[in-house]
Point group: C2
Chain length 104, copies 2
DNA sequence: ACGAACCGTAAGTTACCACTTACGGATATA
DNA sequence: TATATCCGTAAGTGGTAACTTACGGTTCGT
């Protein structure tokens, strides 16, 4: 276990990290492959992958000298739960607004 | 329409902004009320609210001298769509992994 | 009309973090 | 064994953005 787990929202808050994550979501990819797709260096990708790993958004498996990264459902579950609670507030607002309009 | 719309992922990437958004999701609140709930100054809250507005995550309505902010479903829809596409990749990974295990 | 409450923006500072280069370890290939 | 590929981390730097204080505008109450 890592000493400090990063928040998945904060992790995906960075544009480069979001690009990396989107590529991984398409299919599992190696570090070098990701670096070739992005306008940043390979070490930068490595550092971003570490953040995504600490946020439980990706997992790794070693295949030869390459490290294949793929999406981890754990972090996605956290995001979905948070998002659902946000939706609760949004719907409550719309409901209240509708009631005010129908009965002023 | 604003000249430049901020990405909702980037907007919620900031911890303070996420706290503000969570409070608004509970119920619509004024700027001063939000500032009292957070460890930052009122102008800071104002700046964060602007970012959330540009990301289509909140809307405002003036009530007297106060500006009441509430959740905007538009930004939430974007987040949900992105999240769903991420889930697609995650499920595909799990499926492929299961197939490899059952038929090596 | 006057003070108070509520708020947005401008300006300036500081801390952080995204990025680079440099280096070394691990594994496959010849 | 030697070489190449793939990768992580350390160290250092620059830019940015999150915050503060200061100021001025708008609306409500008296």
């Amino acid at each position: 276990m890592s000493t400090y787990a990063l928040d998945p929202w904060t992790a995906l808050g960075d544009p480069s990290r979001r690009q990396i994550f989107e590529r991984i979501a398409e299919r599992p990819r190696s570090v070098t492959e990701l670096a070739e797709l992005l306008p940043i260096s390979r070490p930068a990708v490595s550092q971003h992958l570490r953040a995504l790993r600490e946020a439980n958004l990706v997992t790794v498996r070693a295949v030869g000298t390459r490290r294949i990264h793929q999406v981890n459902p754990d972090g996605l579950r956290t995001l979905r739960n948070d998002l659902d609670s946000y939706w609760g507030g949004a719907l409550a607002n719309l409901k209240e607004l509708a009631e005010q309009e129908t009965q002023p």
